[in-house]
């Protein structure tokens, strides 16, 4: 039961799952832009690669990560 921010691997996935919502959002007087969801998955793909699932990701494709919500 380590602190989530300290241990890597699965907790990084959990962190992604918890805090990435629908992209980066800017709320302002004129600017409201919601980042393209694909961008988030692009980021996810790279970050997942760093979580030792690189081989599996390459085999499984990115569709699976949609399961992260």
């Amino acid at each position: 039961m380590t602190s989530p921010a300290q241990s890597r691997d699965i907790t990084l996935l959990e962190l992604l799952d918890r805090i990435l919502d629908r992209g980066v959002i800017i709320i302002g007087d004129v600017t409201i832009s919601v980042a393209d969801v694909d961008l988030i998955f692009l980021g996810l793909k790279l970050i997942l690669t760093s979580v030792e699932t690189a081989e599996r990701m390459r085999q499984g494709g990115m569709e699976e990560t949609v399961g992260l919500q």
């Binding site: 962190l15 990435l20 961008l39 790279l46 760093s50 699932t53």
Partner: protein, 274 residues
């Protein structure tokens, strides 16, 4: 030189507290200056970000840069964890940025009652995640030993001709698969119910595939619980006892304490949807 446009990155909402004057934690963009913007007795915990980093072009580049993404996700989490050490927090998701301080105050003002109410409900409570995995092959091996009907069939197989034995073997496999599936469902329900006894609230999330978890076992439960500080020890001891005493190819994982991400619905969404 052109002046860069500043944005206010919001981490969480909490009660006003002198604690924030001393807050030293590395947030988004490695910013060490994390501070509160107050409205009455609630505040938003923010730090200044360079809007250029979150503009369309840079954002695309940054999000595809795993180092940038990881360090900023952790920055986001670090700040909230620091704040939640001694007080209730309403954690925000990653990447919510306001262009002006007055906008942040508006958010607090417009949602004041809701924030107060939520902070009250979340007082002394933290989020814990329970994930259970099952290696079906191992479960089947265990069932193969204990199931009487299967033992009977196995006995028969040894006496049959090759052709008949083939069909009986297939029958055994079918029974095993079906039983394993039922057992998994029963286990998931049992664990889910047991943990819930010690929680104030719970949510179930979609199961992650093996590709995501990188495990040689299937996830059979992905649950999150909101647990009161007073019940945390009990909750964790239940986890320990499952982990130590339940075999059948099952693996248990518990992470936390997390900010209660899964137990807040942010009014920001509504603002965005307008």
């Amino acid at each position: 030189m052109e002046r860069r446009k500043k944005g206010f990155y919001i981490y969480c909402v909490a009660g006003v507290d002198t604690f924030f004057e001393e807050l030293k934690v590395e947030g988004i963009g490695r910013s060490m200056k994390v501070y509160p913007i107050e409205y009455g007795d609630v505040c938003a915990v923010v730090s200044d970000v360079d809007l250029d980093d979150f503009g369309d072009t840079m954002l695309e580049r940054n999000l595809s840069d795993s180092e940038w993404l990881e360090s900023n996700l952790r920055g986001h989490e670090n700040v909230i964890e620091e704040v939640m050490r001694n007080r209730a927090v309403i954690p925000f998701k990653f990447g919510i940025i306001f262009s002006a301080e007055t906008r942040v105050k508006e958010l607090l003002e417009q949602n004041y009652d809701e924030f107060k109410n939520l902070l009250n409900k979340l007082k002394d409570k933290r989020e814990w995640a329970i994930k259970v995995y099952c290696n079906i092959e191992e479960l089947k091996r265990a069932l193969r030993k204990s199931n009487a009907k299967i033992n009977e069939l196995k006995e028969e197989i040894s006496k049959k001709s090759v052709g008949a034995a083939y069909f009986l073997t297939k029958q055994v496999e079918d029974i095993l698969s079906k039983e394993a599936d039922q057992k998994v469902v029963r286990y998931a329900e049992e664990f889910c119910r047991k943990f819930r006894e010690f929680a104030d609230n719970s949510t179930l999330s979609p199961l992650w595939s093996r590709e995501i978890t990188g495990k040689d076992a299937d996830m059979i439960l992905n649950a999150t619980y909101l647990v009161d500080a007073k019940k945390e020890n009990l909750f964790l001891s239940i986890f320990q006892s499952f982990k130590e005493h339940v075999d059948d190819g099952l693996m248990f994982e518990c992470t936390g304490p997390w900010p209660p991400y899964n137990f807040v619905s942010l009014p920001v969404r509504r603002i965005l949807d307008d």
